[in-house]
């Protein structure tokens, strides 16, 4: 799957599962930081990350079960897009 398509799907998850205002989605870029407590972030909390993990598994058809190094993949939309793309490619 192309990274642009993955990013669009992630924005869909933000709206449908995390209940973000759809109008905010046009502001989001690969540089958008996700976790709360970081400058300019979307402010996702631990409950949002649970919901997002499950939504990603359902939407992209793989299981998130890595033993280490997962958290950095969820720090920005760009990092998350790259992670999902690489999992989809089987890399």
């Amino acid at each position: 799957m192309e990274p642009e398509k993955v990013l669009a799907e992630l924005k869909g998850i933000m709206v449908e599962r995390l209940k973000f205002d759809p109008r905010r989605m046009s502001e989001l870029t690969c540089d958008t930081v996700l976790p709360k407590g970081m400058d300019g972030s979307l402010g996702l909390d631990s409950l949002d990350f649970i919901e997002m993990s499950i939504a990603i598994e359902e939407r992209f058809g793989f299981v998130i079960d890595e033993t280490q190094g997962l958290e950095p993949h969820f720090e920005s939309l760009g990092a998350l897009t790259e992670y999902i793309t690489s999992r989809m490619d089987g890399r």
Partner: protein, 258 residues
Amino acid sequence: MARQVGRLAARHMPAERAAIRKTLTRLTGADGSRLEELTTGVFTDFAMCFSDLVSTNRQPASRLTSSLASVEGVEHLVPLTSGLISLTAHVGNWELAGRLLAGRTGRPTHVVVAEEEVRDVERWVRRNGEGVRFVTRSRATVSVELVAALRRGEVVGVQGDRALGTRGDALLPFFGRPAPFPLGPFLLASAVGVPLVPAFCLLDSDHRYAVRVAEPLTVTRGEETDAARAWVAILENVVRQRPTQWFNFFDIWEPFGP
């Protein structure tokens, strides 16, 4: 010696003592000298549990069983072959319970803890190893690691008695009055589809511990608050039996002020 330290602490920590007195009044209905006795009992029991935690953490897990007087309900763990959430509270020796259960399940156990304010203390009471790994909940992304651990069939240990003051809390009846409790463990369980297993490690009069494992709670999507209510009822029953082992040194009903 630990009991003497506890008695000293009771005299030198007036704010905590006042909070405990208020709590015990509601938990037990005691007053007068009985209330004073129970209040001091919280400090001495806490000192005992803390002392045991430090000393047992320096021993191999195989030697922890010498601290045990009894184990009830461990058969509930046998059919649980997938990931599970071990749910406990600041009652008795909760971290010892985590180590003991890690040994029983034979699976890696991730114990979620608040970031310890006193780092010098942390290294004494929280030692990674022998299947147990402590993770702090200071980062929001830590929940992704917990999802992954449960997917791998591992155990996540969490405490279900301290509200965070966020949208993830629910007001639930505790000793007849609403108190905030965290919904996070129940949302995690329902999202991943794993059971929650309430477990406690209580100090007995002979200075050994009784481990109690309750029947697993299953949570369906959208019914997390009902599961949390069932958990709080279990917790209330345990605290009613051992009020001096309820180690929350603040007003549990109004932890963030009135």
